[in-house]
């Protein structure tokens, strides 16, 4: 320990002798690491798997069951109610749920000002498929229409001031609904069950309503809906159920490869039967997309973050080169001192130990600087790309990664100078 303090003392003296080059080295390395880390945070979190145990078991089936002919089209990214009904016949999936999102206004009573809320209109298996935690109450007994809803914990607290509110009634768009459940804290990031059109960047919804009630009460999709015939958007209860009005996402849980293969075959048979019955003219273009691949399938990956990742990596490299350059100059300036120590009997391992302590000290300063710069850079990125703000959070894993990266970069920066100082010709170094 005494020896360590000695090394630290020597390092400190060395820094004090020429503080500016040292500060510049630390600053440049901190800049490179900070900028790289802030973007890496977004990149890492946007590409993280919110359901690592299930993401290879949940699938989004898409069919080309549309009343127009297209030979090389992808199937629509959302399904019609009637197409979902045809898929729903299958008993192969362990769980299945159709869903879409809508907007609404929630209040306790007519005299209260309305609170805008996002509504997920779905079926009961949604909660088990996406591991949605329940704090109070229960979910719907079946998939029938009912005037019952579930609230997120934050919404219950915001509207009613507490979470134990099961059985109470609320007005959602002037219709009376009974609260049957309140969710626990839950934020699925990225929100992969709603990936089209970059919706996966948004937070999960405030209110959960049965799918059939959503159609009965004419809740239109707030994200993506399209018609391929003369369906009227204002008549969801009738046209929405019978015509080619597409607005539903549909997820199935297929636990084994055998189930997945069977479901693919089921989809193929369905399309063939429908075509034979003259209900659609297009060739089969079925898709069964895994949850973890859904963003890529819809082409929704964040190009800006990706482009900036390339550039920040380049910047980190430049910073490492620059810091190495400065570090080399610093060591060359101190070379006489190193050589003198070698001449007076210090062996190479002792010098290497001294340089390792130097590196440790530099890593500490750099880590602190990088964290500050990364924080500022994250704030800046949030203000320039506000849509990504949910992905700005740091966790222990990310901080550890930054620390390891800082150590590695500091090691790279001091590696060549230390080798040159320890292994150069002593005579030559003393003469210089």
């Amino acid at each position: 320990m005494e020896q360590l303090f000695y090394y630290l003392k020597v390092s400190w003296f060395s820094i004090k002798r020429a503080p500016l080059p040292y500060m510049l080295t630390v600053l440049i390395l901190s800049l490179g690491l900070g900028v790289f880390f802030s973007n890496a945070t977004f990149y890492y979190r946007m590409n993280s798997d919110p359901l690592p145990d299930k993401s290879d078991k949940l699938f989004f089936p898409m069919l080309m069951l549309v009343p127009y002919q297209c030979s090389d089209c992808k199937p629509p990214p959302v399904l019609s109610y009637s197409n979902v009904a045809k898929l729903d016949v299958s008993t192969i999936p362990s769980a299945k749920a159709a869903m879409y999102s809508a907007d609404g206004y929630l209040r306790q009573h007519a005299a209260q000002p309305p609170t805008p809320v996002t509504v997920r209109i779905t079926q009961r298996d949604f909660f088990s498929m996406f591991d949605v935690p329940l704090l109070h109450g229960t979910i719907w007994a079946d998939n029938q229409a009912r005037d019952e809803l579930l609230l997120s914990k934050a919404t219950a607290e915001k509207i009613l001031g507490r979470t134990d509110v099961v059985g109470q009634q609320l007005l959602l768009d002037d219709r009376l609904f009974t609260i049957i459940g309140v969710l626990d804290d839950w934020q699925m990031l990225p929100k992969l069950y709603d990936a089209y059109n970059r919706q996966y960047l948004n937070p999960v919804e405030d209110v959960y309503l049965p799918l059939e009630s959503g159609y009965d009460y004419n809740y239109l999709s707030s994200t993506n809906s399209s018609t391929f015939d003369d369906a009227d958007f204002r008549k969801l209860a009738t046209d929405g159920r019978n015509k080619a009005l597409h607005q539903l996402q549909y997820w199935v849980q297929l636990d084994t490869p055998a189930q997945q293969q069977a479901y693919r075959q089921f989809m193929a048979n369905l399309v063939t039967d429908e075509k034979a019955a003259g209900r659609h003219p297009s060739a089969e273009a079925n898709q069964l997309v895994m949850l973890r691949d859904i963003v890529r399938y819809f082409g929704g990956e964040s190009a800006d973050i990706k482009a900036f990742a390339i550039v920040t990596l380049l910047f980190l490299l430049v910073s490492v080169f620059n810091a190495s350059h400065l570090s080399l100059n610093r060591y060359l300036s101190n070379q006489y001192e190193f050589s003198l120590r070698r001449a007076l009997g210090a062996n190479r391992s002792q010098l290497q130990m001294q340089l390792l302590v130097d590196m440790g000290l530099m890593s500490t300063f750099t880590l602190a600087g990088a964290a500050v710069i990364a924080y500022g850079c994250t704030k800046l990125m949030n203000s320039l790309w506000p849509a990504n703000h949910l992905f700005a959070g740091w966790d222990v894993q990310l901080m550890l990664a930054l620390a390891v990266l800082t150590l590695f970069c500091s090691y790279l920066v001091t590696l060549y100078p230390s080798l040159r100082a320890s292994f150069g010709s002593l005579n030559k170094q003393l003469k210089e």
Partner: protein, 397 residues
């Protein structure tokens, strides 16, 4: 100083020079691509929209009760809102629309000539349902036909007349006159000048407009207001209160000028260009620090050599130029390598974002910027070198 001697001088510091060259090449590559991206974003923001951007306000709003989202209450609400806004001093014209212009995406559909469906089809054309003053608010020039003066329901027995933009008319009717012809949405009543509709649409200037009551406002609707050029701010400040007084059962999502709306349309590109510019500035700073440190260290290490040169008759100016020349040579070599790096980076970036390819004059401009920065950075160490006395040479003896 002859070029080969400069090369020789650089060769004496192989590692340091190599590190500097790599940095300069990468800085050059990033700087060049940042300029390209910034240039592209600027062009996007400056492209003609065909709209009065500064003095047009867009209010996006939605009734908070179901009753107000349906006729007849909705019709009454719209009439009252339009009347109230017209009384605000500085308002020239006001209209409602199911959606505003200058959006990423929105309500759109196919427009085609029913007689030549496949050949004439324009996909994903923004479909506007508006009040008659829409054309006046956006100052859209009528190129042919007459604008509809009364609202006719889109889903009525008689089809509501359609107004289309010039580029859409040319696409659907193959550059032939469109007025009086039929598209799948109704008979064409007029053709108006192009304006920017939706970014994700097939072509940004394709637009189809029908003067009709709003079908429904579950997705909200827009009020478009043109003001006199000096009263936009005042009108904007008054709008929330005016609309709340008409009916408080509404949610106002935003009030923006169309200029702000256009900025938002390219906010992602603007964000990336800003970040790259900031990063380029940092890289230039880092390169300047490197050049400074390199020149300063070189001066300190070679004081005796410089002293000897001075003793042998080299002027201060020559020493100064010599040191600068060394850095200029390094920068020039870095720029040559940087062109290759810039090409690679451009190709890599083009795989993820839309970025123009390199042109011939941009590398020259970037090289000039880099040379300027390096010159500024080495100026002080070069000045120090000129202060070295010829007497320093005697210390070597």
């Amino acid at each position: 100083m002859p070029l080969h001697l400069l090369f020789k001088s650089l060769q004496r510091r192989k590692v340091v020079t190599t590190l500097l060259l790599v940095q300069l090449a990468m800085t050059f590559a990033l700087l060049l691509n940042s300029i390209l991206l910034a240039q592209q974003t600027r062009q996007q923001l400056q492209q003609s929209t065909g709209l009065p951007l500064q003095q047009t306000l867009q209010v996006q709003l939605k009734p908070t009760t179901i009753a107000l989202r349906q006729y007849p209450a909705l019709g009454d609400l719209l009439t009252r809102q339009l009347e109230a806004i017209r009384t605000v001093p500085g308002v020239v014209a006001v209209a409602y629309s199911n959606q505003g212009p200058l959006l990423q995406g929105g309500n759109n559909g196919n427009v085609e000539d029913p007689d030549r469906e496949e050949l004439s089809r324009a996909n994903a054309v923004p479909l506007y349902t508006v009040s008659a003053d829409f054309f006046n608010v956006l100052q859209l020039q009528v190129l042919a036909g007459e604008l509809p003066q009364h609202e006719i329901a889109v889903d009525g027995v008689a089809k509501s007349p359609v107004v289309i933009t010039q580029s859409l008319a040319n696409k659907v009717f193959d550059d032939k006159p469109a007025v009086g012809r039929l598209v799948n949405r109704g008979p064409v009543a007029a053709v108006v000048a192009d304006f920017y509709g939706q970014r994700w649409a097939g072509t940004v200037n394709y637009n189809s407009i029908q003067v009709a009551p709003l079908l429904g406002v579950d997705w909200g609707y827009s009020l478009l207001i043109r003001t006199t050029s000096d009263s936009t701010t005042k009108v904007r400040q008054a709008l929330t209160q005016v609309l709340q007084q008409v009916d408080s059962n509404i949610e106002i999502f935003y009030i923006r000028t169309l200029a702000e709306q256009q900025q938002l349309l390219y906010s992602n590109e603007f964000g990336l260009a800003s970040l790259l510019s900031l990063l380029s500035a940092l890289m230039l700073l880092v390169s300047m620090i490197s050049s400074y440190s390199n020149a300063y260290f070189h001066t300190l290490k070679h004081q005796q050599e410089i002293g000897i040169k001075r003793a042998l008759g080299a002027s201060k100016g020559r020493i100064f130029t010599e040191l600068l020349s060394e850095n200029w040579l390094t920068t020039a070599l870095g720029a040559v390598a940087g062109v290759g790096c810039a090409l690679v980076l451009n190709q890599v970036l083009a795989q993820v974002i839309s970025i123009p390819s390199l042109n011939w004059w941009l590398p020259l401009l970037t090289c000039t910027v880099l040379l300027l920065c390096v010159t500024v950075a080495t100026w002080y160490p070069a000045t120090i070198a000129t202060r070295i006395s010829p007497a320093t040479a005697t210390k070597a003896l």
